[in-house]
Amino acid sequence: MTAKLRILLPQLLVLAIVVGLGAYLIHNTLDNLARQGVATGFAYLDREAAFEIGEKLIPYTSADSYGRALLVGLANTLEVGVLGCILATILGLIVGVARMSRNWLIRHIAALYIQAIRNVPLLLQLFVWWDLFRVSAPPPRQAWQIMPGFFLSNRGLTIPLPSFEGGFHWDIPHLAGFNFAGGHIVTPEFAALLIGLVIYTAAFIAEIVRAGIEGVSKGQTEAALALGLKPRQALFLIVLPQARRIILPPLITDYQALIKNSSLAVAIGFPELMAITNTTLNNTGQAIEAISLMMIIYLGLSLITSALLNWYNARLALKGMAR
């Protein structure tokens, strides 16, 4: 009884201090806000935002509410997050496999990429990409054509889109006046953010992939080769499916990091969740509400990511991979 109490008492004490401190802070803040005449609560979400948003996936004008602006930001965050995770996984897989290539040059280029990218701050990398796309890229008339239909200029990167109007065809971007028409234009901000996040995250994923491949016993590759499978088939049919179980848990962390890192977009002016929140709290002064809302949303996104991958992992385990 006394032993139990001796363990319980300090914990209760700490809890009391934390709760007390929290209550004091909240009380204090509300007090301050009230004195400054700032209304607390989430009513501001219904008020007219009165600011423009450059890029939006859902309809929005400056006459819409702060709540809708937040949704626009969330949608942009999701777009970057989902595309980023997919592309970073593909690139990470390629680099991770290249890292283990028997070819000296390929192996060392991959190692250099991983080392260099992981050790330069992401924010700096985003600035470099942004500078490349916004400042260093030529005006549309002198755009660099990377591939047919892919033009890079200081207006962004054009991408051909499939079109179904009047039968299937590709809607190829072309120069019209001072800008491009047709296809889709990715803004320099979006391109810089997406490419920066993908290249940065892929370097981490590559290391996870390598560890995963190394975690599968050498005998597996040998057995596959001895059956006459090509090295590539051995990799994709035998090694990677087994490495998947090793790769998945740390991959969750990297996906979550990518989503959180997308908030660095605030520095290069892409209107995602963080940037919209920033503008909102500057205009309304509802810092506490706006920031808690943003934190809850980021937390939710992290939890959803983790839940999705855990569900996938559990499904793999069910398929007899439990050993």
Binding site: A226, L227, G228, G320, A322
Partner: protein, 248 residues
């Protein structure tokens, strides 16, 4: 290809790991349908030799030919030889993420281009011959060691190989499971398969081998029929080895 040229031939094969020479000029001919048992002390190069035959290890000097195809650095030839030479490992090396049936059908479908249905029929037939057809839909992790090794044999046979290599197929097994695996190998030998078997199962060697090869320190020290090898081994090293392994 005539019936008299050897199925597998090694001449003056050399292999080194850094400064350490594992194979010091190994020459061996294995005729079609011949069963060769390889024995020798640990580290003598037995595994390395048979792993050179399907290029799991690259030999640095000498010639290796399988059914008339010389083993070079050309991936096409390497793959051609691997298709025709089955291998059974000490650690089974079954694919744990695939069912027993999928373990057997994968290579015939992906490498031989066999139809899924035909591959499945062949696989079931082979599982019958190693006497575990009821395990077809289980995963390797759910089988005993002896069952796994029999699946591994069936997996290699599903490629319809011309020759089979065994690297100590029973060394990782509990004693009570050794017999079921050896029985499968004896049956295979009875069907005329060309076999090179690294093993210390001298009973199996006596029963099945046409020729026993004794290796020591990277060389073939003695090549003899089982009768000669067990009754009057020529080299002192083989005598010593035999007295150790037969336990008196």
């Amino acid at each position: 290809m005539t019936g008299t040229d050897p199925m597998i031939s090694l001449s003056n094969v050399e292999k080194r790991y850094g400064a350490f020479q594992v194979l010091k000029g190994v020459s061996l001919e294995v005729a079609r349908g011949e069963k060769v048992v390889v024995c020798g002390p640990s580290g003598s190069g037995k595994s390395t030799m048979i792993r050179c035959i399907n290029r799991l290890e690259r030999h640095e000097a000498g010639r290796i030919t399988v059914d008339g195809i010389e083993l070079t650095d050309d991936p096409k030839q390497i793959e051609a030889i691997r298709r025709d030479v089955g291998m059974v490992f000490q650690q089974f090396n079954l694919f744990p993420h695939l069912t027993v049936l999928q373990n057997l059908t994968l290579a015939p479908v992906k490498v031989r281009g066999m139809k899924e249905r035909d591959a499945r029929d062949l696989a079931m037939q082979l599982l019958e011959t190693v006497r575990i057809p009821e395990q077809a839909d289980k995963y390797p992790g759910q089988l005993s060691g002896g069952q796994q090794q029999r699946v591994a044999i069936a997996r290699a046979l599903a490629m319809k190989p011309k020759a089979m290599l065994f690297d100590e197929p029973t060394s990782a097994l509990d004693p009570e499971m050794i017999k079921e695996v050896l029985d499968a190998m004896v049956a295979l030998a009875g069907q005329g398969m060309t076999m090179i078997v690294v093993t210390h199962e001298m009973g199996f060697a006596r029963q099945v081998a046409d020729k026993i090869v004794f290796m020591d320190q990277g060389q073939i020290v003695e090549e003899a029929t089982p009768t000669d090898f067990f009754s009057k081994p020529k080299s002192e090293r083989a005598q010593l080895f035999l007295s150790n392994i037969l336990g008196h």
